[in-house]
Symmetry: C2
Amino acid sequence: MGLSDLHIDFKKVSIFEVGPRDGLQNEPDFIATGDKIRLVEMLQDAGCRRIEVTSFVHPRWVPQMADAVDVLNGISRREGITYNALIPNFKGLERAVDAGLKEVVTIMSSSESHNTKNLNMSVAESLEEMKRINEYAASHGVRVRSYIGTAYGCPMEGAIPVEKVVDIAKKLEEYGSYEISLGDTTGMAGPVSAYEVGSRVREQLKKASLAAHFHRASGIEFANVLVSLQAGIDVIDSAAGGLGGCPYAPGATGNIATETLVDMLHRLGLETGIDLEKITKAGDFAKGLSAYEHTA
Amino acid sequence: MGLSDLHIDFKKVSIFEVGPRDGLQNEPDFIATGDKIRLVEMLQDAGCRRIEVTSFVHPRWVPQMADAVDVLNGISRREGITYNALIPNFKGLERAVDAGLKEVVTIMSSSESHNTKNLNMSVAESLEEMKRINEYAASHGVRVRSYIGTAYGCPMEGAIPVEKVVDIAKKLEEYGSYEISLGDTTGMAGPVSAYEVGSRVREQLKKASLAAHFHRASGIEFANVLVSLQAGIDVIDSAAGGLGGCPYAPGATGNIATETLVDMLHRLGLETGIDLEKITKAGDFAKGLSAYEHTA
């Protein structure tokens, strides 16, 4: 027996590591730039090939990421590894381009309420911004990865019609994004919605790869990962140590821990290119940087 | 989309609640009999229909279960609910019968090393004991549920040949056990082994129902539950609050938390008959009884 019995049609999974950015961004105390660099080094030592290093968001909103350029300059960049930064808007893209980044990550929500609250734009306005960002990025040789937030549900609006998520994903692909990541922003996904949204978006994309980004939900997130693999999704986002979110706010839990994800994928017989022992150490280091207690 | 897209062929799952026994048995401080009774009452209030209440093991080995008879007599037994007790051997069965129980749970391992270490018998000897237990139970109108421990792997022997697990399950069914529960005693199951063992045993049983009993493993247990459902298993064991095991011993973590399991199954669109809010309260009460910190 093997992967095909479990309805999984590939042998390799690409893990997109978000620990240094999504994992650390809400930490209440400023984490030393050297420690952030050390975390990235441990991640690449463990075999991570795609790392979301930081964010070009205004320091007024996310002071933790104020050292974006210093972190990027401090890393000993290696061949074959992609270093990403989240950009919340066009201004962030310009800063990322100035810093010499070759790949950025954009973000918008599929929920009108959530998008308005977080980005102060309608979904249509965000899509216009994404088009502009993709055009500018392409003209500067920068690749774009795009998050679609609240893809599996929104705390304000409930379930988002799958067609709406599909429509946004298709537009982002058309604008040039090479990968779409479906974000379970507030931990609302269950295996049925994870499978439905994942498989519907997957079958509508022509060439873009598709990722799933779940947050911790007492373990259900790993059932969500499993059905996502079954839905044909071969990229999973995670953060070493399971950091992220706000541990004290219900519905905003941390990310899936990369070390647990690697363990599960290897048990499935899937290749990740990541060393379990080393990523576990990186996860322990990440947890040590956090002001919260993490149990993942 | 629905359950059939996820390769799940039924609409109801039977949850076998093991909190009062498997959950509490290793607690270091004696838990008041009244609190144990209160937990069982909360579980039946929440809709649990099958409860492993206690164990007829010698108090020298498990002092926490010394009040087995008092707990059983203290519960306001209700129509339609099955109250179980674990029996480690024939002597335990006699005590359970004397206490008026209508259902007992037996235990043996599929690993020779583990069975010898825990029960001081070879697998063949344990099977003889199981035969004798089933015969005596049948002649006293008592139904037998049977655990097969280390079904997904043994820390001493590694993977157990699936044929051996299948063989034990078939014999237990032949002796009269109405349900077999595959135990992941030390948390070694991954989705591939969970699916393989589960589906192979499932297809070889003629009339016995089949259950899966996983322990916590950073969330992977819920991927194991999902593939077990896909393998045709419609009974899952769990403990309110995720209690059980020894929180400080690697590989002997607590059980799956019933409240998380119910949440996941309901998100899947599966019926459990259990009220999520009430079972969460029962889980919180169970955690309050524990000397350990439980995060499930």
